[in-house]
């Protein structure tokens, strides 16, 4: 599904990713762990196509296409979803309007008719239930005045709406209390199918108690320095990152 080879990327001239290699197949859950500043968020932003980052070397193919050639919106419509670590507020644009625009852009690229207002609302209600999202949130402006937990829940709600092939969850657990964490993780698990894949980026083992990874990678100074099974996460929890240096 996703093949990354020797990926290098920098921001304002500073190299952050220094040769990432990663293979993700459908049905898999990968966890990427690592200390602060190791390049975890950069990797997710680069895969989503954030224009602030410059890819200097390497390749990434997604669903058989050159990912790095595509505009961010094309990547989205091809099924790549990023749950942001810090979701941005967009004042004046209601969640409903935002989601409807997004869904219809996805449909347009698939040469499908736009969803009718009725069908859209029905679909939205189903997906709200997945993350137990408060109904009133969709009438508010995108993320505006949302609590930290509401923002993260809103990200997973959007993921449910867009039904991605590959979801990248960038520190979705940060800022969540234990109940919110469980709800968000349950949401992610419910959305899991044998055909899609998930990358979970996190500092802590805690989230991985709820979302069970098949493969765990350790990112350190812009490179994947270790790959293992679920046990690796436990080992990191116990020993920290220092022993990897």
């Amino acid at each position: 599904m996703l093949t990354i080879k020797n990926l290098h990327a920098s921001i304002t001239g500073k190299e952050i990713l220094k040769g990432i290699n990663l293979q993700i197949n459908k049905g898999e859950v990968h966890a990427i762990m690592g200390p602060n500043g190791s390049g975890k968020s950069t990797l997710s932003e680069v895969l989503a196509g954030n224009p602030s980052f410059e890819v200097t070397k390497g390749s990434a193919t997604f669903e058989g296409r050159d990912l790095l050639e595509m505009l961010p919106e094309e990547r989205s419509c091809l099924g790549l979803f990023l749950s942001f670590q810090y979701p941005v507020e967009i004042p004046g644009v209601s969640m409903i309007n935002f989601m409807r625009t997004a869904i219809n852009e996805h449909r347009k690229r698939k040469k499908q008719e736009p969803l009718s207002a009725g069908d859209f609302l029905k679909f939205m209600r189903e997906k709200q239930a997945v993350v137990e999202m408060d109904k009133s949130l969709v009438n508010r402006s995108v993320n505006e005045g949302f609590s930290g937990g509401e923002k993260k829940r809103n990200e997973i709600f959007q993921m449910a709406m867009l039904e991605p092939r590959l979801a990248i969850l960038d520190e979705t657990d940060s800022g969540l209390d234990i109940d919110a964490l469980r709800i968000v993780a349950n949401g992610v698990n419910k959305l899991k199918t044998p055909d899609n894949a998930t990358i979970v980026i996190t500092h802590y083992q805690r989230l991985l108690d709820y979302i069970k990874p098949d493969i765990v990678h350790v990112l350190y100074e812009g490179q994947i320095v270790k790959t293992g099974g679920p046990d690796l996460a436990l080992e990191l929890e116990e020993k920290g990152y220092d022993w990897l240096k």
């Binding site: 625009t101 852009e105 867009l162």
Partner: protein, 479 residues
């Protein structure tokens, strides 16, 4: 801004103005320039009574003593008032059944059908081309209710007492330079009278079209809402693309009597000039409503996307006790456009209320200013005002400015002012992109969200139109 959004902003600078065509129609002109003889000639062409000629001449004499105002945050090149044609009349008969094909086609192309049976929803239109009103629709059904909706010229002929009573009562020719000029040379415009207790059953609208070269458009609108009446009035405007600047100096006067309500909406889309700032309309307009009656109400809503230079302050004189004034504005400037626009809320009656919501959107190298006055007179007990002025910047080369003035002479008044300035951030655009929304649509979504509070005040048909206009003037068309 990211490269992507810069591209789009570049693209919109190259976006063609959709209404820039010229109609080839036989037009009667008078010679260029302004003097007393020209004014007598205009008055004679319109078969006006002596009192109106006197009004014009007084205004003209006063105008010659005035200088163009210079206090606005605008860079206005010198205007040669002797190089303007003050009267241009397309040759057509004033009867919608016998309108010339050219006129019908012109307004059809502008999306304003003048055949009554083809107008889907109830909107009555007065169509003004250059100096004359060429058609007014739905006059008979309105007349049944006693509503007068006709061109200004007809009103002078058929309802001289009403015109005489109210003309210049809200905007005196002494008011300012452009008001004096308009009072001297005004050509046509619309007249509306809503009788006591009548709720106007349809939207009334005037569509202004400049067609002829080198001419100015100086129309006058006079609306009188008698006791306990209601009317919603719309105004739209376009002009051909030309390298020369053209002057539009209009006056709108509104009189609102006891417990009456007037809603006045404008979608202003005069030709803004090209991407290098060449050509475009100078839109120097004086609009004012007088809430004379108790508990009367006026609401101005404007969406300003056109004109090279805009100088416009739709204002409210709140002299009736418990009267209220509202001003909702979205002003968009792009390329080299300049706008200095806002309102004046003059509280004179007791328990008067006013509300100002101004949303400026600046792109390109444009300058966009809000200028507003809230005045509370000494006798205006318990007056209330709330002002909100927001600016949205879409480029690093544009300017947004706010000039709020307050002049308070009564301690019981409550005046609040809020202001914000924001930019569409790269993070917001990337967030939209990541959800599948291309940058152009994302800008449209954010701009419309930002302007929503004002757009919601427009009548339905107009709101859709205005939304599209915002997208076009800021984004360029897709594909």
């Amino acid at each position: 801004m990211s490269e992507n959004s810069t591209d789009i902003l570049d693209e919109l600078t190259n976006k063609d103005y959709e209404y820039g065509f010229v109609t080839d129609i036989h037009t009667e002109f008078i010679p260029k320039g302004i003097n007393e003889n020209v004014i007598r000639l205009i008055s004679r062409k319109k078969n006006e009574p002596e009192w109106l000629l006197d009004f014009r001449l007084q205004a003209y004499r006063h105008w010659t003593t005035l200088k163009m105002p210079e206090w606005a945050y605008l860079n206005i090149p010198p205007i040669d008032y002797q190089d303007i044609i003050y009267y241009a009349a397309p040759q057509t008969r004033k009867d919608s059944r016998n309108l010339s094909e050219e006129v019908l086609n012109t307004f059809d192309k502008l999306g304003i059908p003048l055949h009554e049976r083809r107008i889907p929803s109830g909107i009555a239109v007065d169509a003004v081309m250059d100096s004359v009103s060429v058609a007014t629709t739905f006059r008979e059904p309105l007349a049944e209710k006693g509503i007068i909706f006709c061109s200004f010229g007809e009103a002078v002929r058929n309802h001289p007492d009403l015109v005489k009573k109210y003309l210049g009562s809200v905007v005196s020719y002494r008011d300012n330079f452009f008001a004096a000029l308009n009072s001297a040379v005004f050509s046509d415009g619309s007249f509306v009278y809503i009788p006591k207790g009548v709720r106007c059953p349809m939207e009334l609208s005037t569509y202004f079209r400049i067609n002829a070269m080198n001419t100015g458009q100086f129309e006058r609108t006079l609306i009188v809402a008698d006791d306990e009446s209601y009317v919603s009035y719309l105004e739209g405007c376009t002009a051909p693309m030309r390298d020369e600047n053209q002057l539009h100096a209009a006056i709108v006067e509104i009189i609102v009597l006891e417990r009456a309500e007037v809603k006045y909406s404008t979608v202003q889309n005069w030709y803004p000039g090209d991407s290098n700032g060449k050509g475009g309309i100078y839109n120097f307009v004086t609009k004012r409503a007088w809430c004379k009656g108790e508990s009367s109400k006026i609401s101005w809503t404007q969406v300003e996307t056109g004109s090279a230079i805009t100088w416009k302050y739709p204002s409210c004189i709140l002299s009736g006790n418990r009267s209220s004034g509202e001003f909702y504005s979205v002003a968009v400037t792009n390329n080299y456009q300049q706008a200095d626009t806002g309102t004046k809320m003059i509280h004179i009656g007791k328990n008067t209320k006013s509300r100002i919501v101004s949303k400026g959107i600046s792109a390109g190298k444009s300058q966009n200013s809000y200028r507003g006055l809230v005045k509370i007179a000494s006798e205006a007990d318990n007056a209330r005002n709330h002002s909100q002025c927001d600016s949205l910047l879409l480029s690093d080369t544009c300017g947004a400015h706010t000039f709020p003035y307050m002049d308070i002479h009564n301690d019981t008044g409550i005046v609040e002012h809020e202001a914000t300035t924001s930019k569409i951030s790269e993070d917001q655009l990337f967030y939209c992109n990541q959800r599948g929304i291309p940058t152009e649509e994302a800008i449209g979504l954010i701009v419309n969200g930002y302007a929503k509070e004002v757009l919601n005040k427009l009548p339905m048909e107009f709101a859709v139109e205005a939304q599209k206009l915002l997208q076009i003037s800021l984004e360029g068309s897709v594909g």
